[in-house]
């Protein structure tokens, strides 16, 4: 197969592959063993399978949230974006992942409290209880599932980048090409199925240890071998070089034309991040409000790591890393894996690859669990089997967690991998539209359920259409996430423009609906639910099997 020979990874790197496999085996064994960790009497409820029993303390939550929020997006897509087009498409992730924590600190304890008091497992559960609206709850659930799939797809792209660098996946046979990826994902699916949230919580320890080790070594290497000054100079030169079309390659430091783009990407992504079902899952699995608050203060450590990893995209520029894939085509996603492969001995490159691959598996597991919980609670139970037992719920969730992973595969096959960072941004455009119902709902019942539904619909349609029209060098559609704000010439993140429209529609329609005295629905939550840290009366006594708090009781 001549195609293979054209790539840089012509030979399989045996040493690096062996190291990667060793870590993969460790993690797989850990994933299956996790079912026994703090073993409950029964795994057959969503509280146990989907939320790890809601007992995680500050440290476990720190690893879990860190493992959850810092994904292949961090390790592969952000440096790739830095490598390809610089700060506005990549480095905004740093302010984004800093700004998100004050926001989590403010909003999430309230959500935690109301969820704990009422036995909510998903954000859509909360919306259902707060607004008494099945339609709105369905919208939130469907959006959550939809938005999660491209994000899981991004994890696949990360794993693919590693496999490609190792020399696997160069075959022109489609089936053979993606076989290692399928195997990795099948194994992931299997232990997620059996251990639920405990698996990624346990594996997150391995992942983070590896990542921190790798990043420290890489930064020391860059400092000594390349020098930070030279690294930035190389990046600046590349970004200001004109492309054949006459535009600059990228942005080294934003100017007045791109201030809003940078700032809106950071803010919009931050708002979106904690609306994702998987971040909610990790937050709700904490055992108290203070676990969340403390984590908001200590999680930024990961953002430092993210910033340094992002700069590896520049290091790859300075090191003149080649990003030709095994299939002979250039692929920016390979910047970091190839940088490690070129700069370090095989065994250490193997460790770095393991870090990236495991770093993609952990969030993929949590995301599929979160999406599955949404389906089970807010679609299956709501529309098909209202009297589902906790056991049935967990069974359905397990199966759906498998289906969701395959949905993600569809995204990988259908979207442009060059700009994998857009997978995450597209999901962000969608998930952002649920924030009005959820966050406003944490403070006030003023907004009308139907107005919220209409606002959501407008935001979804605008966001999807606007994203659809973005061209990139490689694709005709979904090629970017920036567009002119309606009726202006300012380029901003589509998700944020859609959110603005969403809020306007929600407020205006609320005024109209309220004036017309349209019923606002029943509120199943009590004011004290929102700042309570106490164990509610409906919580089961620890140790009693299958004692899932009955949300129906709170909703009735």
């Amino acid at each position: 197969m001549s195609v293979v020979a054209a790539g840089s990874g012509t030979k399989v790197d045996g040493v690096a592959l062996t190291v990667l496999l060793i870590f993969f085996v460790i993690v797989t064994v850990g994933g299956f063993m996790a079912a026994k960790w703090r073993r409950p009497e029964s795994m057959h409820s969503l509280d146990e399978w989907g939320l790890g029993g809601r007992v995680f303390g500050t440290i476990i939550t720190w690893f879990l949230l860190g493992g959850d929020l810092y994904t292949a997006y961090t390790f592969v897509a952000v440096p790739a974006a830095m490598f390809a087009t610089g700060a506005v498409s990549g480095f905004f992730a740093v302010p984004y992942t800093i700004v998100v924590y004050p926001l989590i600190f403010i909003f999430m304890p309230r959500l935690w409290s109301v969820a704990h008091r009422n036995g909510y497992v998903t954000p859509a559960d909360f919306v259902r209880g707060r607004y008494g609206s099945r339609g709105l709850s369905l919208a939130v659930a469907v959006t959550g599932i939809l938005a999660t799939m491209p994000y899981i797809a991004l994890q696949l792209v990360g794993i693919q980048a590693v496999l490609d660098t190792l020399g696997l996946g160069g075959s022109s046979n489609v089936l053979l090409k993606d076989l290692p990826l399928f195997i990795a994902f099948a194994v992931l699916a299997a232990y997620t199925y059996s251990s639920g949230l405990r698996a990624p919580a346990l594996i997150a320890f391995v992942k983070d240890t590896l990542i921190y080790l790798v990043i420290v070594v890489a930064i020391v290497y860059v400092g000594i071998k390349i020098g930070f000054g030279d690294m930035f100079k190389a990046a600046e030169t590349k970004m200001s070089t004109k492309t054949p079309k006459g535009a600059a390659t990228g942005v080294f430091i934003p100017n007045s034309k791109t201030y809003w783009a940078y700032s809106s990407l950071a803010f919009g992504s931050a708002l979106a991040l904690f609306m994702y079902p998987h971040s909610m899952t990790a937050v709700l699995s904490g055992k108290s409000r203070n676990v969340i608050r403390r984590n908001a203060a200590i999680l930024p450590v990961y953002s430092l790591m993210l910033g340094l990893l992002a700069l590896l995209g520049y290091a790859a520029i300075a090191a003149k890393t080649k990003v030709i894939g095994a299939d002979g085509k250039p692929n920016a996603q390979l910047a970091v894996p190839h940088f490690f492969h070129d700069a370090f001995p095989s065994w250490f490159a193997g460790v770095a690859f393991a870090a990236i691959a495991i770093g993609a598996l952990v969030p993929a597991a949590i995301m599929s669990i979160a999406a599955a919980n949404l389906f089970t609670r807010n679609i299956y139970r709501e529309y098909f089997k209202p009297d589902a037992t906790p056991h049935e719920e967990s069974t359905v969730s397990k199966i759906v967690s498998l289906i969701v992973k395959f949905g993600a595969l569809l995204f990988v096959l259908s979207l442009d991998k060059q700009n994998a960072i857009n997978f995450q941004l597209l999901g962000g455009v969608w998930i952002l539209q649920t924030i009005v119902a959820i966050v406003a709902g944490l403070y006030t019942r003023w907004l009308h359920r139907w107005a919220l539904l209409a606002g959501w619909a407008v935001g979804m349609v605008y966001g999807t259409v606007a994203a659809y029209h973005q061209k990139s060098a490689a694709t005709a559609h979904f090629g970017g996430s920036l567009a002119k704000f309606p009726f202006t010439h300012t380029t901003v993140y589509i998700g944020l423009s859609a959110l603005v429209l969403n809020v306007i529609v929600s407020v205006v329609l609320t005024l109209i609906l309220r004036a017309a005295h349209v019923p606002t629905g029943e509120d199943a939550t009590a004011p004290a639910d929102y700042y309570s840290d106490s164990v509610p009366a409906v919580r089961p006594v620890p140790g009693t099997a299958g004692g899932l708090p009955e949300p129906g009781a709170a909703r009735a």
């Binding site: 480095f91 800093i98 700004v99 930024p300 953002s303 430092l304 106490s534």
Partner: protein
């Protein structure tokens, strides 16, 4: 159920915590304040090291807000 219905925070504490949390958000979202090259630090342009520095500053501000709220909560409990 004794001590099972906590009260909302006193307004002063809530406002102070809110300000502490708003500072990092504004410092990073107002891009013109830091979108410049100099002064450089260890070869890092200002734009880059400023944002990395805010990782630590934001963590400190958030932690301070946590301490404030915790103290208020504890005092609230003691007064009952």
């Amino acid at each position: 159920m004794p001590d099972n219905t906590p009260r909302p925070l006193p307004t002063g504490v809530a406002v102070a915590a809110g300000v502490l949390l708003a500072i990092p958000i504004l410092a990073l979202l107002i891009v013109p304040i830091y979108a410049k090259k100099g002064p450089e630090l260890w070869g890092f342009p200002f734009f880059y090291w400023y944002q990395l520095l805010w990782v630590f500053l934001a963590a400190s501000f958030t932690y301070l807000a946590y301490v404030l709220i915790e103290r208020a909560r504890r005092e609230g409990r003691d007064q009952r």
